[in-house]
Symmetry: C2
Subunit: 501 residues, 2 copies
C-alpha cells in the first residue's frame, strides 16, 4: 500500500500549500500531480475524468502577468526600433523539411503535427530558421528585422526557472554582405541596451567564435566528423561540471582522454583583449588558419565594443559553444550574474537570457543555387526575465492596474440604466475610457467599491437632480471630492483630470 | 499527354503573371501548383526536391504588411481598452479533450499534434474555448477580457479573400451574472465602433437568438435531436442559395420537405423592432416558450442599441444561425456591404468580419460541478480587413515607412568608421533612433540614397573639419539644407526636428 501512502502524502502537500496560500501555479502543479496519482491507482474510475490544465510546459498569462509582459515587450521593441529594424511575421508552423537538418542534436525536441493528409508540418523551434526561409523564398539579400513570437520545444520544462515548452523569443537580425564585425558589434550593443533597460541586475555577455572552437578541436586532435557533437557537449559546461562534460566526451562521444584533457585546458580560459592577443601567440592555435581568422576578427569586434563603451561587461570565453548547428562565426550568450532578490528562497535561475551569433550558411541551404546571405542576430529569451520581474513586482507590493478605464458612469438612484447607457455611450464616442456596471439598479456603494478595486480614478454620477440641472456629479475616487460639471463640459474635464495617466 | 498539356498551360500562367508583375502571393501560389504538377508527373525526380514555401493556407507578413497589421491592431486594442477590458493569453495548443465536443460539425477542422509521447494536443480552433477553460481552471466568475491571437483551422483556404488556415482573432468577452442584454448590447457597440474606426466601408450587423432558432425548429416540426445539425445547414445561407440549403436539409439531414419549406418561410424574414413585435404575435412561434423568451430579450436588446444610437446598422435576421455548438442566446455577425474599391477586379470578398454571441453553458462544461458562468463575446476576424486595407494602400500609392529611424550617421570622407560608431552609440544612448551603414568606407551618395529609400528624414554627417570644430553637419533629406550643430546640442536638435513624426 505504498501507493496509498504516497497519495495521502501528496494530498497533505496540497492541503498545506492551500493553507499557506502558496502561488496558484504551485498549487495547480501539485493538484495535477495528485489527480494523476489518483487516476493511476484507479484507472477505470479516472478514465473519463477530465483534467483541467494547460499542456505540460505551458502557461496562461493572467491580466497582471500580461501587464508585466507588455512592459518588457515595450522596452525590447523600442530598442529594436531605435536601431532601425523593420518587423516581419511568419506562421507558427513550417513544412517539416524546412526545419530538418538545422538544429543538430536538438532536433528531437521539435513538435510535429499529426499527419491529417496534406503537408507534413512542425511547430517552429526558433525564429532564425523561418527568417532564413523567408529571405530565401523572397530573394531578399539585405534586411534588418525584428520578430517577437512564440517558439516550441519538447524540452524538460522547469517552470519556476522560466523554462517552458512554449516561450517567446525576441529576435533581431541583420542580413547582408557587410564589413567584418560591424553588424555583429551592433547586436551585442542591443543586448547590452536591453539588459540595462530591463533593470534585472548585473549581467555578463560571453563571446566566442565557431571558427576558434573548430580550430581548437582540430589542434586538440578531435576528428573532423566529431566537431559538431563535441561542440554540443562543450555547450553543457554552463550546467555541468567539467568532469561530467569530460566523461560524456570520452564515454558517449568516444574521444581519447588526452584529447579531452587538451580541450579542458582551453575551455577554462576567459578574458578580454589580452587573452585574444595571447591566443594569437599560442604556438598550436595560431597555426590553425580558421582559429587565427576567428581570433583576428574577435579582436576587431572588441575594439568596436570599446567604442560603444560596453566591453567591461563582455567576456571572451572559450567554453561558450552554443548547441545549434547553423552558427559559422561569432557566438554570444548573456547571463545574469546574481539573484535579483535575496529574500526569494527558490532561485529563479541564474542563467542565459539572450544568445545569438553569425550564421552565414543558413539562407543558402534554402536556395536552389546555394546563394549565401550572411546573417548575424540575437535572440532575447524573456521568460526568465518575466519570472524575475513577476517576483520583483510581488515583493514590492506595487499595485498594477490591468485596465486603463478613466471613469465609471454610475447612478445614485434606481431606474437610471437608460441614462447611464446614454452617457457612457457619449463618452465612448468621445474617446473616453469608460465603464458601467451591468446591473439595472446597482447600489452606489458597489459602484464606488468597483472603482477602488480596479483603480478607476473618476466616477460620473447621475441622479434625478443632476439630470434636471443638465449636469453630472464628477467624483474623485481617492479624495472623494465631488463637483457638478455641465454635461457639455464633461469630456473635457475628464481628459484634463486624467491626462497624466 | 493531357498532363503535359496542363503542365505547359500552368507554366504559361506563371510566365504571364511574372510579366504582369502580379502579386508575389499569386505568383507563389501558381509556382507551387506548377511544382506540384511536375512532381506528380515525375515522382522519382521530384522526390528530394525541396519546395520553398509556407504551409498551405498560411502566409508571411512582410514589413509593409506588418505596418498595416499594427495599425489595425491599434484601432481594435484601443476600442477594447476604452471599454475597460483586461487582456490574457493562453497557449497555442490545448489538451485535445479540452476542444472535444465544442465545435459540432467543424471539429474535423481541428489541427492535432503528433503523438510524440505524453499528452495529446490540438492547436486552438478559436479563443473562446481556451477562455472558458481559463475561467473554469482559475474559478473566475466575472471578468471582461480581450485577447488577440492566432487560431488554426484545416479549412479550404481562399487567400485572396482573406481566408487562411492560420489567422488572427481579436476577441472581447464579458463573463459574469449580469442583467439581461446589457453586456450583449456593449459587445455590439464594440463591433460598431471598430468597424467605423477601420473605415472599410458600409457594414451591417445581423442579430438572431439561438432560442428563437430552436423555437422556430420546434414549431416547424424538426425533431429535437436534429436541432444542431439543421442549425449548421441554415448557417450556410450566407454562401448558398435557399434551394441548395433546402436540398441539404432533405437529402443529407433527412428532413421532410414540408418542414424544410416551413423553415424557409421564417428564415427569409429580417427587419427591426417591428419584425420582433410581429413575431411575438405569430400564432405558432409565440406559443413556444423558448422562442418567446428569446424574442422578448432581443426586443430589450434593440432598445439598448437605440440608446447607443447604432440600431440603424443592425438587422434582426432569422437566417443567421452560426455554426458553433456552444451558443445559447443572442448571436450576431457583421458583414461588409460593398466593395471598398471598385477598380479592383477580383473581389476581396464581401463577407463576415466579426461574429459572436452568448454562451452560458461553456464554462460549466469544464467545471467538475457544472457551475455555470454566463458569457457573451465577440470575435473580430481581421484577415479580411487586412486584405482590404492592403489593396487600399496599394491603390493609393501612399508610401508606408517600415522603420522609425530619425537620423543616419554618415561620413563624408574615408576612415571615419570609428567616429561614426562613437556618434551613433551616443545617439542610441540618448534614445534617438539612429542607423549607420555597415561599411568601413561608404560613399556619401550611397548614404544619402539609403535615407531617401527608407524615409529617414535627417543625416548627421561627420568629416575631418566637423570633428576639428566639434560640430556635426545636420542635413534635412527632403530640403537638402545643411546646418552645423554643436555636438552637445545634436540630440536636442534631432528631437526638436522629428517631434511631429
Amino acid at each position: 500500500m505504498a501507493e496509498e501512502e504516497a497519495l495521502r502524502k501528496q494530498a497533505d502537500t496540497v492541503r498545506r500549500l492551500k493553507q499557506e496560500k502558496a502561488s496558484p501555479e504551485e498549487i495547480t502543479k501539485q493538484v495535477s500531480k495528485l489527480l494523476e496519482m489518483k487516476s493511476a491507482m484507479h484507472p477505470e474510475e479516472g478514465k473519463h475524468k477530465f483534467v483541467l490544465k494547460t499542456p505540460k510546459g505551458t502557461r496562461d498569462y493572467n491580466p497582471k502577468q500580461m501587464a508585466i509582459r507588455e512592459k518588457v515587450f515595450n522596452v525590447i521593441t523600442q530598442c529594436f526600433k531605435r536601431h532601425g529594424a523593420e518587423t516581419i511575421d511568419t506562421p507558427v508552423f513550417e513544412l517539416k523539411e524546412t526545419l530538418t537538418g538545422k538544429y543538430g542534436e536538438d532536433s528531437k525536441l521539435i513538435y510535429d503535427l499529426k499527419d491529417q493528409g496534406g503537408e507534413l508540418l512542425s511547430l517552429r523551434y526558433d525564429l532564425t530558421v523561418p527568417f532564413a526561409r523567408y529571405l530565401a523564398m523572397n530573394k531578399i539579400t539585405n534586411i534588418k528585422r525584428y520578430q517577437i513570437a512564440k517558439v516550441y520545444r519538447r524540452d524538460n520544462p522547469a517552470m519556476t526557472k522560466g523554462r517552458y515548452r512554449e516561450f517567446y523569443q525576441c529576435d533581431f537580425d541583420i542580413a547582408g554582405h557587410y564589413d567584418i564585425m560591424i553588424p555583429d558589434a551592433e547586436c551585442l550593443k542591443i543586448v547590452h541596451e536591453i539588459l540595462c533597460a530591463l533593470q534585472i541586475g548585473d549581467f555578463l555577455i560571453k563571446v566566442n567564435d565557431r571558427r576558434i572552437l573548430d580550430g581548437m578541436f582540430a589542434v586538440c586532435g578531435v576528428p573532423d566528423t566529431k566537431f559538431r557533437t563535441i561542440c554540443s557537449t562543450v555547450d553543457k559546461l554552463d550546467k555541468m561540471a567539467w568532469e561530467d562534460v569530460k566523461n560524456e566526451m570520452i564515454g558517449e562521444k568516444g574521444l581519447a582522454p588526452e584529447i579531452a584533457d587538451h580541450i579542458g585546458e582551453y575551455v577554462r580560459l576567459h578574458g578580454g583583449l589580452s587573452l585574444i592577443e595571447q591566443l594569437l601567440q599560442d604556438p598550436k592555435l595560431s597555426q590553425n588558419k580558421l582559429a587565427r581568422e576567428g581570433l583576428e576578427e574577435v579582436k576587431q569586434l572588441f575594439k568596436y565594443l570599446d567604442l560603444f563603451g560596453i566591453s567591461d561587461q563582455i567576456s571572451f570565453d572559450l567554453s561558450l559553444a552554443r548547441g545549434l548547428d547553423y552558427y559559422t562565426g561569432v557566438i554570444y550568450e548573456a547571463i545574469l550574474l546574481q539573484e535579483p532578490n535575496d529574500h526569494v528562497e527558490e532561485s529563479v535561475g541564474i542563467g542565459s537570457v539572450a544568445g545569438g551569433g553569425r550564421y552565414d550558411g543558413l539562407v543558402g541551404m534554402f536556395d536552389p543555387k546555394n546563394r549565401k546571405v550572411p546573417c548575424v542576430g540575437v535572440s532575447i529569451g524573456i521568460e526568465r526575465v518575466f519570472s524575475i520581474m513577476e517576483q520583483k513586482m510581488e515583493a514590492s507590493e506595487e499595485k498594477i492596474r490591468t485596465t486603463e478605464t478613466q471613469v465609471l458612469v454610475a447612478s445614485a438612484q434606481k431606474k437610471l440604466l437608460e441614462e447611464r447607457l446614454k452617457l457612457v455611450s457619449e463618452l465612448w464616442d468621445s474617446g473616453i475610457k469608460a465603464e458601467i456596471l451591468y446591473k439595472k439598479n446597482p447600489k452606489l456603494l458597489n459602484q464606488l467599491q468597483y472603482c477602488e478595486e480596479t483603480g478607476i480614478p473618476l466616477v460620473a454620477i447621475l441622479g434625478e437632480q443632476e439630470l434636471k440641472d443638465g449636469v453630472v456629479k464628477l467624483r474623485d475616487v481617492v479624495t472623494r471630492e465631488e463637483v457638478d460639471i455641465f454635461r457639455g463640459k464633461l469630456v473635457e474635464e475628464i481628459k484634463r483630470r486624467t491626462r497624466i495617466l
